[in-house]
């Protein structure tokens, strides 16, 4: 359902914009296998998105990070103390916002920036802790290209950029 909604947003955007083939370099901290790049390539304004178009001044950075919450930091610290006191029998409970950020830059200047987040709570064993994103947050990350498509459609600077590209590099 989520994905079909995303597809609808992308298709409706395609009807609105007759976008030029603007080359955009994709830079991300997500694994390629997650398919974020492939989803973004379906957007009509990002058809020329690629990781290896090094020369383009237009870069799309897709990154993620955990952001502590006020209650989460307290819970994490307390459970860490308890876990240490019980020599690892009790788990460490973490509550964070998992934030996926999209930033569009032209010649290093940011022209659009959006973040999407989901609150997560995890119980981890102190001996087997890793910092890889969980399946839950990765599933959430897969839904963000559709949200980004909707938000990007509202950025006048991106539309101006596309128009400028069409002017200087008209389709042959």
């Amino acid at each position: 359902m989520k994905y079909s909604l995303g597809l609808f947003v992308m298709m409706s955007f395609a009807l609105q914009v007759n976008a030029a083939d603007l080359p955009v370099q994709f830079i991300s901290t997500f694994d390629k296998e997650l398919g974020i790049e492939e989803q973004l390539k379906q957007l009509p304004q990002l058809t020329n998105l690629g990781a290896e178009t090094y020369g383009t001044p237009v870069k799309l950075l897709v990154t993620y990070h955990d952001q502590g919450t006020a209650g989460g930091d307290v819970a994490s610290f307390t459970s860490l103390m308890l876990a240490a006191g019980s020599l690892g029998i009790l788990p460490i409970v973490e509550n964070n916002d998992f934030v996926v950020s999209y930033e569009l830059r032209v010649h290093s200047k940011s022209i659009a920036s959006f973040s999407y987040s989901i609150n997560t709570t995890e119980a981890k064993n102190m001996y087997t802790m890793d910092h890889k994103p969980s399946k839950e947050v990765l599933d959430f990350a897969k839904t963000t290209p559709a949200l980004f498509a909707k938000d990007l459609a509202t950025v006048p600077a991106f539309k101006e950029l596309q128009q400028e590209y069409s002017f200087y590099f008209p389709a042959k």
Binding site: Y54, V106, H107, K109, E164
Partner: protein, 406 residues
Amino acid sequence: MNIKFGFVLVCLALLVSGCTATKKNPTALPKGVVVNKSVQVPNPVKLRYYVPKAALDSKFFASWRGLWVSPGQGLAQGVDAAFKSHFSDSALAKFNANDEYALLVALAPEWKPGSGVLNFELSYKVFDSKGKVLLEGKETDKADIGDIAQTAAFYNTALKTTQVISVKVLNALNPSLSTFPELAKIDSVAKETLADMKKPVSTGTGFFVNKNGQVLTAAHVLDDCLVTKATFGKKDSYATLLANSILLDTAVLNTEFTQVPFLPVREGDDTVVGEPVANVGYPLQGVLAQSANLTRGNVSAADGIPGSMGHLQFSAPIQPGSSGGPIVSDGGELLGMAVSTLNVTSLIEKGIVPQNVNFALKRHHIRRFLDKHQIAYSNSKPDFKADFRTGNDAALATVVKLSCYQ
């Protein structure tokens, strides 16, 4: 006994690190700083403050912690919090909007990190709506750097010094809507009175494209400049932006120079790979000679790297500050404008040491940009038989140094 002693030590360490990592309350004034009872707080007078963009954006990579530290973020938040605690309508001045002010405070911050201590100097000038300087001075503070990953030390020093300045403004001027009734547009302020005109934050290169003194350059040379100066020979002129393209990284400036020599654009769009070219610029100002630097090379490729927009590759060496310099043929015709070089650092990390791989915007796109903005230029037929000195002389005669002040 040892366990108790260890426990006390841990508590003390937590306390100390907690202090250095905690942001101070903006409503609590530093010791000995008091607002006069006759002064209205929060004050309704419209106050705007100016902080150089370079200071607000400053950040560095703390390699020992493996993270980015942002003094600029701490500065921005500290200054804002201090003024907002006294003035109900205070904000960072915006020069590209119809922003207005009754009192304008120009701040010039400087960090001087010492051994474990952060020294901070904040110079200030206070202007009224007519541009008259009402107050000026300098406040200093120092703080324990503590955990540098937190911006608390930067925030706290900025907060404290700005609080002192804010209280001085309140006590000395006793501002009210009746004593400061007039508002002025921020755009109307003489920017050279706000900027630090002693030393440019960056320099770059440009060149004349017509006899009217209009200068073509790379747009990034002008990034966030409050004031731009063009130096031609031994003469200086203020320069103002006439047109720019964020996509092509190209801009044209108006200057006060007239009847100047200029570079004609070569007719046609063909790129002759292997053609000898000269590049002139003002690179590494403060390190190299202040006169123009000329380097020679060839057009190495008709295109740039994948995804690049309208670039040709050339081999004449360039350095930081060369951006915006002309790429000139032996016949003295403009072939392109230096805009970038290969990212050597990232390639060296991969074991590759590139040499003389530089990129220029092709003349076809320069011409289109000038046409779009109706900026005069002239074309010239290619002269492949000319002596290289003809091209060198043409480039040297038309180039200007651009200095950016904030």
